[in-house]
């Protein structure tokens, strides 16, 4: 039996939902952990900030494949958790992204003028009210361009999950390459799919940014 590359196009495209699921869950997990971490890192005590610094240092400095293997073959089984390859992949992507996202949001918090917190306090807001109503809404908007970059990075990084047999785009391209005996074209198609997904995702983030940006505040100097 010998199939042509064209026969495999739907098979390759069927990898897109897997890749998107990895990225969406990974980004969501990264956001859920990264945002609280950034708040504690920026506004919490120095001691806690140092622990978060160590967390960020570890997850930013470890190659994704090492993290994936560590979770799937070591940490999760030793805790008695029988995670599927997909879940382990999401955990690895999410934990790593949380370290990056915490720094994205931290820089956004730091870019907000400190006077705003004082102003919020002066009108009777508590610190947590100021955080939820004044600082976080602004930080999310300021962070959006960098956050969309995190999407683009994770999209491509998700291809490493082939190591656990997750049927995402690159895993499929590899199988197609073997089945058709073509070394270049399956990967070229995979590359085009990644390009399109990156463009669409970044485009959506750009639209959201345009809709929600705060005119005149982002990047404004103190002059």
């Amino acid at each position: 039996m010998q199939w042509k590359l064209l026969d495999y196009i739907p098979f390759l495209i069927n990898g897109v939902p897997w890749t998107l699921a990895l990225v969406c869950f990974g980004l969501a997990m990264g956001f859920s952990i990264g945002l609280p971490l950034s708040v504690i890192d920026t506004f919490g005590s120095k001691r806690v900030a140092r622990v978060i610094g160590a967390y960020v240092w570890f997850f930013r400095g470890t190659p994704l494949l090492v993290l994936l293997s560590l979770l799937y073959w070591g940490v999760l089984p030793s805790l008695g958790i029988k995670a599927s390859p997909f879940l382990a992949s999401v955990l690895a992507l999410g934990l790593r992204s949380s370290a990056y996202q915490s720094q994205i949001f931290r820089s956004a918090f730091l870019s907000i003028e400190s006077g705003q917190l004082l102003a919020a306090r002066s009108i009777g807001m508590s610190d947590s009210q100021a955080l939820i109503n004044v600082l976080i809404p602004q930080a999310l908007r300021i962070a959006l361009p960098s956050w969309s970059n995190e999407y683009a990075v994770m999209l491509k990084d998700s291809s490493i999950c082939f190591a656990l047999g997750v049927m995402e785009i690159l895993t499929r391209a590899k199988y197609v390459s073997t089945a058709t005996g073509l070394a270049l074209f399956p990967f070229l198609i995979a590359g085009i799919l990644y390009l399109v997904l990156t463009q669409v995702g970044v485009g959506i983030a750009e639209l959201v940014h345009r809709r929600f940006r705060i005119p005149g505040t982002v990047g404004v100097s103190n002059c």
Binding site: M1, Q2, W3, D7, Y8, P10, F11, N14, K46, R47, R50, V51, I52, G53, A54, Y55, W57, F58, S69, L70, W73, G74, V75, P77, S78, L79, P85, F162, A163, L164, G165, M167, T171, R172, K174, Y175, V176, S177, T178, A179, G181, A183
Partner: protein, 277 residues
């Protein structure tokens, strides 16, 4: 600074403890008087209970295991596993897995069998147990047709020799390098990629096995016209189906079915179908 180092230390401790627990846990399992604890398929299943076998394979090894456009696997080994399953009425769940971690996946219980052109050898037998062998092959050194050098000349040329990482061909390259041969190993992620490296001129030779090369050249005559086998390496090896050591019942059933299948005309049809005759 102190807090940062404490944090790192804490993380290291947590990971170390987790890994330590995993390692000592697995040791404890084998020290309770038996060589192995009863596995998932150590004994016959309860009457009337459906047997579901998770079949692990690397879909990068034609003609033994490869993917169809509809996303289901095909190949010689897939046909063999399907015939075994049909004989006993088992349900097969296909699980593609990366070759480099497939043995660990079997040990961990992610998959129940490996039938994917897996060579039966001593190092692997320490971890996983094999069925009766069902196919034999030999390792070959392949070069471009216009390259008239002998096997020794190529292996002492200092040039690149392509192999699939983690394969028995890779083990052969290491063995030759250890024996003092002078070449550079080019490790790639599949036999197809390694052969492509030879055709592109990125490598001067390619170590493969006859089980891959023969059927591949039959399907790709344009490639066959460009390459030649410069020589064979070592004695023939065999493929077998791998199971966890403790899954004796499953292995016995596989052996029974394999022997029956190999003694029937269906076996020759299968070999012919996949170009392995």
């Amino acid at each position: 600074m102190v807090g940062r180092y404490l944090g790192v230390l804490l993380l290291g401790l947590v990971i170390g403890l987790a890994l330590g627990y995993a390692l000592t846990g697995s040791q404890a399992r084998s020290q309770d008087g038996c060589l192995y604890k009863p596995g998932k398929f150590a004994y016959p299943p309860e009457e009337g209970k459906e047997v579901v076998i998770v079949y692990g394979f690397d879909a990068n090894y034609p003609p033994f295991t490869l993917m169809q456009p509809n996303g289901t696997p095909v190949g010689f080994d897939v046909d063999v596993m399907n015939l075994i399953a049909r004989k006993y009425g088992w349900k097969i769940v296909y699980k593609p897995w990366d070759w480099s971690t497939i043995v660990t996946a079997l040990e961990n219980g992610d998959i129940d069998v490996i039938a994917s052109g897996m060579t039966f050898n001593a190092p692997r037998s320490q971890k996983i147990w094999f069925s009766v062998p069902y196919y034999s092959y030999v390792h070959q050194l392949v070069v471009l047709r216009e390259d008239g050098r002998s096997l020794d000349e190529i292996l002492n040329s200092g040039e690149y020799v392509a192999v699939q990482i983690g394969s028995t061909a890779d083990e052969w390259a290491d063995r030759l390098l250890k024996a003092g041969y002078n070449f550079k190993k080019l490790g790639l992620d599949s036999y197809v990629a390694a052969l492509q490296a030879l055709l592109d001129g990125r490598a001067s030779a390619f170590i493969t096995d006859s089980a891959f090369l023969g059927p591949y050249l039959k399907r790709n005559p344009q490639v066959e016209a460009k390459v030649r086998v410069a020589g064979e390496l070592g004695a023939p090896n065999v493929y077998a189906i791998a199971t966890r050591p403790q899954d004796k019942w499953l292995r016995d059933r596989i052996n029974e079915a394999l022997e029956e299948l190999m003694d029937s005309p269906v076996w020759n049809e299968l070999l012919r179908k996949w170009g392995l005759d």
